[in-house]
Symmetry: C3
Subunit: 444 residues, 3 copies
């Protein structure tokens, strides 16, 4: 039987709190594409999901057109003024250093220093997030307010980093289901201390894994990966592309899913996959005014999953989309920007989407013409003007249950949430009026 | 030759009067799903159309998921007060009794009586129409105004009805045409004294039959049925489904076709059948602002004709749609609500639709490039600015006559009524410029 | 390599001047369907394009439903008043005589004369353009202002014309390309002194031929014809229809392409041919608010090229469309109404369209997933917020280069001009990241 009900709102809200708590623990870790920060993060997730496999790929490994970069680690970084005051200090905020900065220990004039500084003139109180993965350089990030007040004088720039052959790490867990067909969830673990465009992804994904593991029966097999963005998904695809192209039937990139603002949806390249239809259906009922982006607005790992010749059916459900909110890629995308409620809402939207994948079916009426619902107590016996509204959804469901349309298709056509129609299907099946098929009954 | 012109407006208006007169005769009959009222109604229609066959099906007969109910008859019903005054009297308006009420003869207090009363708080002067076909109960309907003024005291409720095994009746007439392919017209004869949502249907249908019988040549075979709603169409389908699925190419449910308000259209489940395209084309030219409903707004016998696995191409052309006008299913849907003009307009809309079915064809130019119409007197010989508007429709017709598009398709594309293009087709055919085909000339 | 750049704006403006100068030379010639005016016009074009073949077809020749009319020539025509004043004089404006007027030499009263006069009450200062090719009659055209002031009295109407068996002439040039597939350009040379709806067509076409002849490599074969409208295109089709149906893959009617107003587009009958998609793409970038007409607005030789059973993929790119501007078919459509700038803009719009035909291809990524553009200097190495806009178009191009969509398709999807994407394709091909295919790589 298809039990679609959520285990209680109070419980879910406490999930939101748990997720926010987990984000808080992961917050200070200095993540990047590679290095100790990624490994620490994966190790913490493995505490939550012991079945997680942590994989490693050596620097220099080729993945399609790309090469795994050197491993970067950093222990300390600061800018000191002539008086020994640390005016910029990595230990206070790990956004202060340009990601993948090479080591440096040098004295510069204020003017010389400025070439190595990054700030946002339009967001004077935000420290920007800047990286240079594939060209060796160094730099510091700070608020524009601070930068414009830095006095003339000598400055001591110190970055204690290493950039050496090492490894790239990612986490993977596969949850077997009754069918070999797979659902992919992919999130990334490569940004330092940011909330919505980093921690919301692995945190919500971790809780989705916990929920999926709690299910007694899973129809589909679930493949969940925690990878550094871009290079991680490319490496993963290069290792598994044939298997993925054969088995993945739907999936989502999990990112930007924790703030408390409007939901949004980014389609797959194809735009009309099962993942797309479900995402739009779920969001249209959760938040009718959700934002619809197009493939031209893409920006995360769907770029790889949906690339020409890869074309996995992967869409993205988000709250505030990367690149579209002022706090994005700055120190303002912090633990206040994401909320318990926001994380929980994102979690539930993805959970609803996965449940639709699990429980979608092709309902087909067994009886010809409308069934006589009244004799089964499913229809009011007294016919009077305007009384039938309560059963209208069921009558519409019946009217479209021709074995050619999936329950999801019908939900979209009659604009009633899938999760309200599914119990009706079960009711009609139990009354012997309807059959549920796994596949379309259309003769071709 | 396709003579599409109507036999004169004055004549048609007199048709409207005749139809309204017929409605007046049928008005007082106490129709229900079954019983004497239905038989009286059918007998009267048979006076108009002697070829009508009146069929009967015994109570208890199974039809798909349904069972033909007992036959209901009623001779009298009233509520008397303590002083012998009939405060509610079936003989004054047959809506006063809940349809299929079981017999009763009992004294009740005002408070006890109230449980058996039905009225409409929002329409204080309307007697509602209420039925309980499939659960045995009894009740009276009255205006809310009267109900709220009924004083305390004792009341004598009397219903002299019978509910016994008997039969369900319907009328059927089949008019043979040159082709075995059939057009279905279905109307219902099961509501007591109401105008638009009852009598307009059988009355307009009767006059359509008369007109169809007057045609010297019919291309298609016409199947016209007068059935009690829902159970009647289900019974009819259960007896003829294979034949109908094989032969019906178009058709309409005829209902709510007699008031003087805006035309409306309810699609088939498929939404794009020949019946649908014709209905939209006709109404778009009769009343460009006609109301378009969707399959989700359905409510009459199309629910059965278009059910999954039945899927006949049946649409509905109406004036004020059932459920959408305040007078619906009340005593206010009376002989004033339907008018001669309204009935005649509905009649003509359906007649036009049927004529399009009869005369639709696939025109195909014989000559390559535009024909030289000037030498045939079909085009002005003097070419001067802005003079060509009169022949524009014909040039557009010619330009789309590729044997792949039907004349109906072309009418829709160039937005000129079918009935204006048909004489042009005949003209072009007579000049040897065009061929008329019954079927699409597209090589497949 | 695909060199798509235009040879410099200053050069092009000078092309505009050259075109306007050519229009001025052709202006006074008394063109009609047939006769010396057509031959003089073609002879002048042959001075510009020596390879032009001038063809002739005898009067009386049958072409589909049409017959080539007699040849019409005219040496003089006037209306004299009683005092010998020429009040209307063909030698001053060749619109003064109804085209194909039979010879006349007669005296009439003012009242009798009026039956032979044509003017435009709503455009009092315009001489209308009137013809009667297929019914023998005569007449004069004059401004309404003059007509309403012509006093009573006797008038001497003289037309020194001949209408005799002769020939119909047209010009044709075929420029061979690497492929047998052909592009058709068709313009007309049958209107007397009018600018936009006559001379802009042959003049712009002449300069397109010059440009096409200057190309070192042509992918497609070009067939360019200068024909009298309607009868000319019908005659041409009757001689070449099988070849054209087999070989023409795109093309344009060149007309109304020289004034300085808004661009417009008239589709082919099919509406979705290569010619249509290109025309819309080019105009959407040249003038986003360009006017889109429909096939129902057609009016020139596309009526023949796209007739049922002919169905060549021919669309029309115009500035002010025939029939839609007040000056149309009057003496006001003069050499001031067309401009150097207007002619040059029209020329460039068609040139851009032809270039797209020549250079369209199916780009397909060779690498799987996104390529690493940074290591090739094609992508910024420093990743910071909002910096990527410059490379967005290239990333979108890459993302759609699946071998199934043409570069034109991609240009439309991502709304970037074809001529901006083509250099990116060449760049990506030269970096070994992309292949360019002539045909779609979709397995079917």
């Amino acid at each position: 039987m298809s039990n679609f009900s959520d285990p209680g709102l109070s419980n879910e809200i406490s999930n939101g709190d748990k997720m926010h708590k987990m984000a808080k623990v992961l917050w200070p870790i200095a993540r990047s594409l590679t290095g100790d920060g990624v490994r620490e993060t994966l190790a913490f997730i493995k505490q939550e999901i012991s079945e997680l496999n942590i994989e490693s790929v050596p620097s220099g490994t080729t993945a399609f057109d790309w090469t795994v970069p050197k491993e970067w680690n950093i222990t300390d970084a600061y800018i000191e003024d002539n008086y020994g005051n640390k005016v910029v200090d990595f230990s206070k905020n790990n956004l202060h250093v340009v990601g993948y900065s090479i080591p440096v220990d040098t004295w510069l004039t204020r003017e010389e220093l400025d070439k190595y500084l990054h700030s946002l003139p339009k967001q004077k109180n935000a420290i920007p997030y800047v990286t240079s993965y594939y060209q060796e350089q160094w730099g510091f990030c700070l608020t524009h307010k601070q930068r414009s007040k830095l006095p003339a004088g000598k400055y001591h720039a110190v970055i204690k980093s290493t950039l050496r052959d090492g490894e790239l790490n990612y986490g993977e867990i596969i949850l077997k289901g009754a069918e070999d067909k797979e659902i992919l969830l992919s999130t990334y673990i490569c940004h330092p201390s940011m909330g919505n465009n980093e921690l919301s992804g692995p945190v919500v994904t971790t809780f989705l894994v916990k929920w999926l593991m709690s299910l007694k029966n899973r129809r589909f097999t679930y493949r969940i990966i925690f990878v550094p963005e871009t290079i991680g998904s490319i490496v993963y695809l290069s290792k598994h592309i044939e298997h993925l192209k054969k088995n993945i039937i739907a999936g989502y990139v999990v990112t930007c899913i924790g703030d408390n603002n409007c939901y949004s949806y980014l389609p797959s390249r194809n735009g009309n996959t099962l993942s797309d239809i479900i995402a739009q259906h779920v969001l249209s009922h959760i938040e009718p005014e959700y934002k619809q982006y197009t493939w031209l607005d893409r920006g995360s790992d769907e770029r790889q999953y949906c690339a020409p010749g890869v074309d996995l059916p992967i869409a993205t459900i988000m709250r505030s989309k990367y690149g579209e909110y002022p706090e994005y890629h700055t120190s303002l995308d912090d633990l206040k920007f994401i909320t318990s409620e926001g994380l929980n809402g994102g979690f539930l939207a993805l959970k609803k989407s996965i449940k639709i994948l699990e429980f979608n079916c092709y309902p087909k009426m067994i009886v010809i013409c409308e069934p006589q619902l009244g004799k089964r107590g499913l229809y009011p016996n007294l016919s009077t003007k305007g009384q039938k509204t309560g059963v209208r959804a069921m009558m519409n469901l019946i009217s479209y249950s021709d074995g050619e349309k999936s329950l999801l298709d019908i939900s979209v056509i009659i604009n009633i949430p899938f999760w309200e129609l599914l119990p009706m299907v079960d009711d009609l099946v139990s009354h012997g009026l309807m059959e549920k098929h796994k596949e379309c009954q259309l003769e071709k």
